[in-house]
């Protein structure tokens, strides 16, 4: 067997290990092993590639690997669990950036020699450069939003859709010119700059609560860019891995979209929550009055309940109250209360955000219930404790056909005997929609910082 074939077979073996690892990631019992298998395979892939590429420019390569590896390892260790969405966005962005840089480098090498690239190679290079750039810029903006370096609310400009369309067509036009005229790296560079701009404008227009969709979509983009890089370099390991990530990212994006009852196009181009608020605001405010309560009253309710369902939302992450929530649950369980957690698929800022936070606080995952499993249980629930969640518990999604969120699957906390909402103030959620749940006669509101409120609840329950 010649050298080339041996390397390609090694790549194939690693691709199989990636698939195997991903498969194991789908169950909590095997997930740690699955991730290790995938990481090991990646190590082999890199080692094989280093061996294959020989000693030329090895110093550059090692320098890049050491610096990048150190930054990656340090951030992975240092990041707080509440900051996980922006960490994922950042890692995703650099991946996209790498794909774009490789594509540009390949183009530079080809155009500075006298041989022009075949159309096939031009297509893959352009795709990788453009999609990689969009993913890089989009992820960086997502990072900025989640890190609160820039505003989390949608930022749009007049004629946004027109600008997007013009930019998109300009990128396509520049790309098309590479097939007919002479190939020019200057034109590719311009197309990449416009793609970066497109990524920025697109993600700037998306509100914080839509981030779960956006992050998984950008993840998918980077996967596709990696696959295109594989086409350029004739490397099957890249094609297979890129396709795996691209496809799984699309799948996750669709699940998130379904959990919000919105199409992907609607999330990306809809700029939700900037318009149409007037009509919606009138919906829930019909007459009712909000009733505020005290920690002592809530503690009595909770302590004598048979079943309490805790519904966490982004507010829990902001207040970093996950450990206090678990302490409260422990106190209640000690008194014989059946405590469960109801997790909406898009609660938080990335898919599964709440699950990670609660896992950090040592809440066993067997206590976390998915929406479809817990919704039938609410009629048998004495108290639903809503912590920093809003739109995902809004009954308007079930009852009010005019509401912008009508049709979105929500947690039916309004069917439980009593509802306590922990909330900082009466601000509306991301969609700017009034929540009629807050005006429901069986709902009481406990205002204040979630962490402080829960700490008060814990000591009040102890005193009951």
């Amino acid at each position: 067997m010649d050298r080339r074939n041996a390397f390609d077979l090694a790549y194939l073996a690693c691709a199989c290990l990636f698939i195997f690892g991903l498969k194991q990631l789908s169950s909590p019992r095997t997930a740690v092993r699955g991730n290790q298998v995938a990481a090991g395979a990646m190590g082999v892939v890199i080692a094989v590639t280093l061996w294959d590429s020989g000693s030329h420019n090895l110093a550059w390569i090692i320098a890049g690997m050491v610096i990048g590896g150190a930054i990656g390892a340090y951030s992975a260790r240092a990041v707080k669990m509440t900051a996980m969405p922006q960490m994922v966005a950042l890692f995703n962005g650099v991946g996209g950036g790498a794909a774009a840089l490789i594509a540009f480098s390949e183009y530079h090498i080809a155009t500075s020699s006298s041989v022009s690239l075949a159309n096939d190679a031009v297509t893959s290079t352009l795709f990788s450069a453009i999609v990689g750039s969009v993913s890089f810029a989009g992820s960086m903006v997502a990072f900025g939003k989640l890190q609160e370096l820039i505003t989390g609310s949608p930022v749009t400009m007049p004629g946004q859709k027109l600008v997007n369309a013009v930019l998109f067509l300009a990128v396509l036009g520049l790309a098309a010119s590479q097939y007919v005229g002479s190939q020019s790296e200057g034109v590719l560079a311009l197309a990449m700059v416009l793609s970066l701009l497109l990524g920025v404008i697109m993600v700037m227009a998306i509100g914080g609560a839509d981030m779960p969709v956006v992050i998984s979509l950008l993840n998918s983009f980077t996967g596709l860019a990696a696959a295109a890089t594989g086409f350029v370099l004739h490397n099957n390991a890249l094609i297979i891995s890129g396709a795996l990530v691209g496809a799984s990212g699309m799948m996750l994006t669709r699940m998130m979209g379904a959990a919000m009852n919105r199409s992907i196009a609607n999330v990306v181009f809809g700029a939700f929550g900037t318009g149409g608020g007037g009509e919606a605001a009138a919906v829930g405010a019909s007459g009712g009055q909000v009733r505020a309560t005290s920690p002592d009253d809530v503690a009595v309710m909770l302590a004598y309940a048979r079943r309490v369902v805790i519904v966490p939302g982004y507010g829990l992450a902001v207040a970093q109250a996950q450990h206090n929530v678990r302490e409260l649950a422990d106190q209640l369980e000690r008194r014989g209360v059946d405590v469960r957690y109801a997790i909406h698929p898009v609660a938080g800022r990335m898919p599964g955000h709440m699950n990670v936070l609660l896992a950090e606080a040592d809440v066993p995952y067997t206590q976390l219930y998915e929406m479809d499993d817990i919704n039938d249980e609410f009629p048998r629930t004495d108290v639903s404790l809503v912590i920093g969640a809003n739109d995902v518990v809004n009954p308007a999604a079930n009852n009010t056909p005019g509401s912008p969120i009508y049709g979105m699957p929500v947690l039916n906390v309004d069917r439980s005997a009593a509802v306590v909402v922990l909330k900082r103030s009466m601000n509306t959620g991301f969609a700017g929609i009034e929540n009629e749940l807050f005006y429901d006669p069986k709902t009481t509101m406990l205002f204040g910082d979630a962490k402080e409120s829960i700490m008060n609840l814990v000591s009040a329950v102890k005193a009951v």
């Binding site: 294959d52 951030s75 991946g95 075949a118 980077t222 990696a226």
Partner: protein, 101 residues
């Protein structure tokens, strides 16, 4: 269109189907680790960056390619480590339940 391209597209499409199939049964609980795990896997672009840097004499490509290597390394190392850290927190039973009272 060359025959090699057709073969490459074949690989791409089949791998995409595997991707759909493998992911479709993941519970919500694991969505974040899944995303950050797949995120780490696309860090495989580092391979492309290594190949490019390892076969060039152009200073521009050496610089850009090395940045790409560093980016890829951040993606790979950070992605797998952070996923590992997260996964270690998922437990079926609360640990030391009666020890902390």
């Amino acid at each position: 269109m060359t025959h090699e391209l057709v073969l490459q597209i074949t690989v791409l499409v089949l791998a995409a189907f595997v991707g759909f199939e493998v992911i479709s049964k993941v519970p919500t609980t694991l969505h974040t680790p899944l995303m950050s795990g797949t995120n780490a896997i696309h860090g495989i672009v580092i391979v492309g960056a290594i190949i490019v840097v390892g076969s060039t004499n152009s200073l521009l490509v050496e610089v850009l390619g090395t940045i790409a290597v560093a980016f890829g390394a951040i993606n790979v190392a950070g992605g797998f480590l952070v996923t590992d850290r997260m996964l270690h927190m998922f437990k079926a039973r609360p640990p030391g339940k009666d020890g902390d009272g």
